[in-house]
Symmetry: C2
Subunit: 369 residues, 2 copies
């Protein structure tokens, strides 16, 4: 039996339970370790694997076969794409569960990126008022962000992630090898979230990234594993402090309020989430600079690393009033005030509504029609 | 200002927070107390009242007007009936929330019976991953059962309450006067759950009910308030021990596995939930008697009080194999075994799969085609 080249991980502490994130390589090969590693976290005899039509040809077969040796396994293959992150897809999961006569013993397994993970998690949170689930994230974005911390959900026609639940997985298995089949554009989208952790939490990690980003983009799995572990640890530390985002957890949304405007305006799926966050982080950094918290050089440094990761640093042209109105739909709005996550310095973020609305308008105007 | 004639209540202790159940009368009269009593439990400035087209002409106007003095109030009126306890109605609530630009500050108010409460609770659990809600139950069934304990959800075409969440309200306001507008058949359906508490928890309460049921059916509000308070206290004690139904809480489902078979087979809405539970409790009692746990006389006593409450004690004709198959869909099934709540004695219930399948078949056969 081939041993995994790299096997590392960490524990996430939440109110409901603690769970491991296992970081590994080459687990999706026959007689290797994907099924073996997750089996101990499956409580009953029933398993539903939820995946999409892009990931299923790559990683489903071995996982399904090996799990079938121990469990009753059903599969739900959803269409790939953010535009399918909706009630119709959730209903497809429910219908599969009901047709299989599965009950509270079932464990759902999310095999795919953030969309699959968010939908599988919400289906798990809501089927029979809550069943277990396991995350096998196959994109960098989901490995460093959405598979950690229990945010699950779907989009509403009028807003992203408007319907959902906080629901923690039993374990997360992040296999770096799956990044080899990830399109380069999606790898870059994941790097946006990696860079985000550096900007909001740790200026030293920014320096590390400036040195190691080329190796990550060349798919050096050990360096990718190191980056994923660091990001998961940053996120786990924050989630342990504030699972339901009543405080510090909101800082993880740096760049996201601006990014949501881009995604909603352009239509889901045209800009990748990470791309919208990248351009949104630049806007948030520009506002921070106008407030005197960042230097012009620091904003240039942020733009440079995003560019190095092949990410956009300029939003599409959006009318200012439209942008402000879309911001009003964001979950971070409190008592009608737009609150934004801004940088007090590189490596330190703050959630604030203490800025001149004129300055926000200035930032939004730079790229408006 | 007219003072309420009766004002009493209790506290429910749950993992997320404690909340009060206030039992009152005549609060839905202008300048009386409904809006005043719930206002302290509304955190933000945004309120969505969810009700149905039967209850809205009775109690909505004053509540809406008085809340509007302090809050931004929107209303979502759903069609009345168990057949509308589905995703379409939930989407109507989401759409109303999105159209109003409401955010995490919103408080949802469920004004109606169990169906309104369950759907409003699930919408609150899932809108923006969870917002606050308040229950104003206007049926006896919801006052003694569904408004307490945080079970929320909707039906799936293949099974009742298959989609949902555990989500606790900020407070429950149970006004006995609302029972004056409740159809007699629905009052009886609520009495089924009241009688259930006596059968599973407290034989003395059964004796109390045998003496007081006529007064309750004649709408003696003080006696009804006393019964509601006792039932809520039984349920609150159980929920405090076992919020997520991993143990003792399952006992509250006495009569429900048999009852679900009746409801599913007959189509939602043809048998009221309480009617199905009544006939289901008789079946569970008959199986308990066959196991030697109840005497024939005790089964007769159960049938007698249900009959006194104008409840059915005989299920409709259902083929045994169909009934067994429908039972297999129930959430109480564990590792493929049908588990039932049975009575070890009057006032003492047990969840068990330790019975001869033949005896279950015998009970089901008594009324099969």
């Amino acid at each position: 039996m081939a041993m995994p080249l790299f096997h590392d991980g960490l524990m996430v502490h939440t109110q409901s339970h603690d769970y491991p994130i296992v970081i590994t390589e080459n687990s999706a090969i026959k007689n290797n370790s994907m099924a073996k590693q997750i089996a101990p976290y499956i409580g009953g005899r029933q398993v539903l694997i939820v995946t999409n039509d892009t990931v299923s040809p790559l990683y489903l077969k071995v996982l399904e076969e090996e799990l079938t040796e121990q469990f009753t396994v059903k599969v739900c293959v959803l269409p790939d794409g953010e535009q399918y992150k909706n009630q119709t897809s959730i209903n497809q999961i429910y219908d599969t569960l009901m047709a299989a006569h599965f009950n509270r013993d079932v464990t759902l397994i999310a095999l795919g990126g953030g969309v699959v993970g968010d939908m599988t998690g919400f289906a798990a949170a809501s089927f029979m008022r809550g069943v277990n689930f396991i995350q096998i994230p196959t994109t960098l974005l989901s490995q460093v962000d959405s598979s950690v911390g229990g945010k699950t959900g779907i989009n509403h026609a009028q807003g992203k992630n408007m319907i959902g639940a906080f629901w923690q997985p039993q374990m997360v298995l992040a296999d770096m090898s799956t990044l080899k089949t990830l399109p380069a554009r999606e790898l870059s989208a994941g790097l946006a979230e990696v860079i985000k952790y550096a900007l909001i939490m740790d200026a030293d990690f920014l320096t590390w990234l400036e040195a190691n980003l080329p190796a990550m983009m060349a798919l050096d799995l050990a360096i990718l594993g190191e980056a994923v572990k660091r990001c998961c640890q940053y996120k786990a530390d924050i989630v342990a402090q504030d699972e339901r985002e009543s405080g510090v957890r909101a800082l993880l949304n740096f760049g996201h309020t601006f990014g949501h405007v881009i995604e909603t305006h352009e239509g889901y799926g045209n800009w990748l989430h990470g791309e919208a966050v990248a351009a949104g982080m630049v806007q948030a950094a520009e506002l921070s600079q106008k407030l005197g918290w960042l230097t012009v050089e620091e904003v240039v440094r942020i733009k440079r690393i995003l560019t190095l990761a092949n990410l956009p640093i300029t939003p599409p042209s959006i009318d200012v009033q439209t942008a402000l109105s879309l911001m009003g739909h964001d979950k971070k709005v409190k008592h009608g005030q737009i609150r934004l996550i801004l940088l007090k310095s590189l490596g330190e973020a703050v959630l604030t509504n203490d800025f001149d609305a004129e300055l926000l308008t200035e930032v939004l105007s730079q790229h408006s029609a």
